[in-house]
């Protein structure tokens, strides 16, 4: 395989990894705070893409305005989702909350089929995203470069929020010890809402960029990426934001490289994540960046 083709795969892998990372953060943040797998997160991602699509096609808004609106609306949707589907069950057995999450996921998907229609839709792409750049003999679509850049910006912003603001400190406190944080006067409900909002906004950013890179929208488009990104979060160490990013990149690069190195295995691309999951659970269940926790008796 020539160097330039390899480089091309690498760029593709990095941009796919960036998208996975954005989505994985949402899982890891919610899990860190509520110990809940937000099964509907992949559908939130789908919703973000569809909102951007309708803003551009039905409301004829310019692309940047559409993207902004999509991010804001998805963020609000994430907060509503938490309030309706998860908050009432906060003190219920884990199994109920998990069922509620699965139920919410299916409800959103089926509503999307009813409202948006089951047929695939083509995501409109502005020329600036589809320009073919030629860098040192390697031709790369501009969106493949834009994705990692936007992801990096979003991650820096998130890092600032989590580590250098008051609300970030409260988030960390709640994820360390829910009860103690509540007793210290932290408004746990609004912190959880904020977490869902942030996670959903990141999912929307990921979704829009996904649409730019793979411009075919279907209501079930969030299902597979959603599952894979939860796995990315587990691989990186659930509850750990840095881990989620690393997990996302491992997954994205791994998938692209498997197909690149051995085209015969391309049919098994979707299985890669799950095999990775089983391996990590066997070798280091706490994930690459995770800490071993001891359950209190």
């Amino acid at each position: 395989m020539s160097f330039s083709i390899m480089l091309q795969h690498l760029v593709n892998g990095i941009s796919l990894g960036s998208l996975y990372a954005l989505l994985a953060i949402g899982y890891t943040m919610v899990y860190g705070i509520l110990r809940l797998i937000n099964f509907a997160h992949g559908d939130v991602f789908m919703l973000g893409t569809y909102i951007a699509f309708y803003a551009m096609t039905s409301f004829m808004l310019p692309w940047w305005a559409s993207f902004l609106i999509a991010i804001i609306l998805t963020c609000i949707f994430g907060i509503i989702l938490e309030k309706c589907a998860y908050r009432p069950l906060r003190n219920s057995p884990r199994i109920s909350v998990m069922i509620s999450a699965i139920g919410a996921s299916f409800l959103i998907e089926n509503l999307a089929i009813v409202i948006f229609g089951g047929r695939p839709k083509a995501f409109p792409i502005e020329p600036i995203f589809s320009k073919i750049l030629n860098i040192g003999g390697v031709s790369i679509v501009s969106v493949s470069l834009i994705i990692p850049v936007i992801t990096a910006i979003a991650l820096c912003l998130l890092n600032y929020i989590v580590n250098h603001t008051k609300v970030g400190m409260a988030m960390r406190a709640v994820s360390k010890d829910y009860e103690a944080a509540r007793l210290m006067g932290i408004d746990v409900n609004s912190i959880i809402a904020f977490t869902f909002g942030t996670g959903s906004a990141l999912a929307a950013i990921g979704g829009i960029m996904w649409g730019l890179k793979y411009p075919q929208l279907i209501p079930l488009m969030g299902l597979m990426p959603g599952l894979k990104c939860f796995i990315a979060a587990v691989v990186g160490g659930i509850g750990n934001i840095r881990g989620a990013v690393i997990g996302g990149f491992i997954l994205g690069l791994g998938e692209i490289m498997i197909v690149a190195l051995s085209p015969a295995l391309s049919g098994y691309r979707d299985a890669f994540a799950f095999v990775l999951l089983i391996i990590i659970l066997l070798v280091k269940p706490s994930g690459l960046m995770g800490q071993n926790t001891v359950e209190k008796v």
Binding site: S92, R94, S96, G103, F106, I113, V114, Y268, D270, I278
Partner: protein, 351 residues
């Protein structure tokens, strides 16, 4: 005790007679749905054993069903049918000429699913519960990916058509005896299992793992037992479903299938055998009945456009309502028993 056993025996015999009568009176479409009910009873009970009684949250049912369905299909089909199916790529030689009677193939299908259950259970049952959910879900997706790609064994995405009908003779009355016969067997088996010392240990694990282990219960062994039994019955259910439909393909065993079974178990009451049975029947029938929502309807001369997908919206909304507002489902963890009925009757007579 004695009296109740006699009552149970009488009602079982009555039920079998009813099956035969229904088979004559109901049309073939309705009979098909009725058979489907029986299969979903098996599936719901097997999931309920794992999720409801041991409290493990497994989402891999579709995967185990796929294993059972494919195994059984490939073992019962005649070499000619196989040749017709595998026109793109020929079937592997060691499978080509195998043809076993239906009951043997069915049991092998169940055993293969149980083996798959043991293989996936060994690494993940030692882990925390929510990892189990995602790992089993992952496993069922891997199975699907593998079945899509092993063209020479499973015929890949094309699927397999022309599965022989359920049973040995191919008569329609035999189908209902098989589906509901196995459903009945599953019910009796689960009742006996749950009431045994092992069943109590399962419930103890559900209630409090740490205390259960401190009482000398080997967590891994008991979780494994439940998981393998559940997988076995899932495989049997999957095989029956495949043969009832007549065709199978990897898409049939998507997560949606697992979701349907979770839905049945939750609506019936997690941890209630009676609830699962009733719910399996009600949900299966209403899934069929609500097909009208997806199709065009004629109301007083106007044609109301059907909305494809509306049916599943109704069911997912129903699941959300139950889990948010009425977590116990239909039966909670309660069970039907004769004493309750008899006492009830006496009470009514007094009034």
């Amino acid at each position: 005790m004695k009296k109740n056993n006699i009552l149970t025996l009488i009602s079982i015999i009555g039920f079998i007679l009813l099956l035969l009568v229904l088979n004559i009176t109901l049309g073939s479409y309705k009979m098909r749905i009725f058979n489907l009910c029986g299969i979903y009873v098996i599936l719901a009970l097997s999931l309920n054993l794992i999720n409801g009684f041991v409290g493990l949250f497994s989402l891999g049912h579709a995967g185990f069903m796929a294993v059972g369905a494919y195994t059984c299909a490939l073992l019962t089909m005649s070499p000619e049918t196989k040749e017709m199916n595998f026109f793109l790529e020929p079937i592997v030689p060691w499978l080509k000429n195998v043809q076993l009677p239906f009951p043997t193939a069915l049991i092998i299908g169940g055993i293969m699913a149980a083996i798959a259950g043991a293989l996936i259970g060994a690494p993940v049952l030692r882990l925390r519960d929510d990892y189990l959910a995602i790992a089993t879900l992952g496993f069922s997706e891997i199975i699907r990916v593998v079945f899509t790609n092993t063209q020479r064994i499973t015929n890949g995405p094309l699927g397999i058509k022309g599965l022989p009908t359920i049973g040995i003779t191919g008569q329609s009355w035999e189908i209902v005896i098989w589906t509901w016969g196995i459903a009945l067997f599953t019910i009796i088996f689960m009742v006996l299992l749950i009431n045994s010392s092992y069943g109590k240990a399962f419930k103890a694990i559900r209630e409090d793992e740490i205390a259960a282990e401190a009482m000398g219960i080997n967590l891994f062994k008991h979780k494994m037992i439940a998981f393998v039994i559940g997988s076995f019955f899932a495989g049997i259910g999957g095989a029956l479903l495949g043969h009832l439909m007549g065709t199978i393909d990897p898409l049939m065993f998507r997560f949606l299938l697992t979701f349907n079974i979770v839905l049945i178990v939750v609506l019936g009451g997690i941890g209630s055998i009676t609830g699962s049975v009733i719910s399996a029947i009600v949900v299966t029938i209403s899934m069929e009945a609500l097909r009208i929502l997806d199709a065009d309807m004629q109301i007083g001369g106007y044609i109301v456009k059907g909305i494809p997908g509306m049916r599943m919206v109704v069911f997912s909304a129903l699941l959300m309502i139950v889990i948010l507002f009425y977590q116990r489902g239909l039966m909670g963890t309660n069970e039907f028993n004769w004493d309750w009925i008899i006492n009830r009757k006496k009470k009514i007579q007094k009034i």
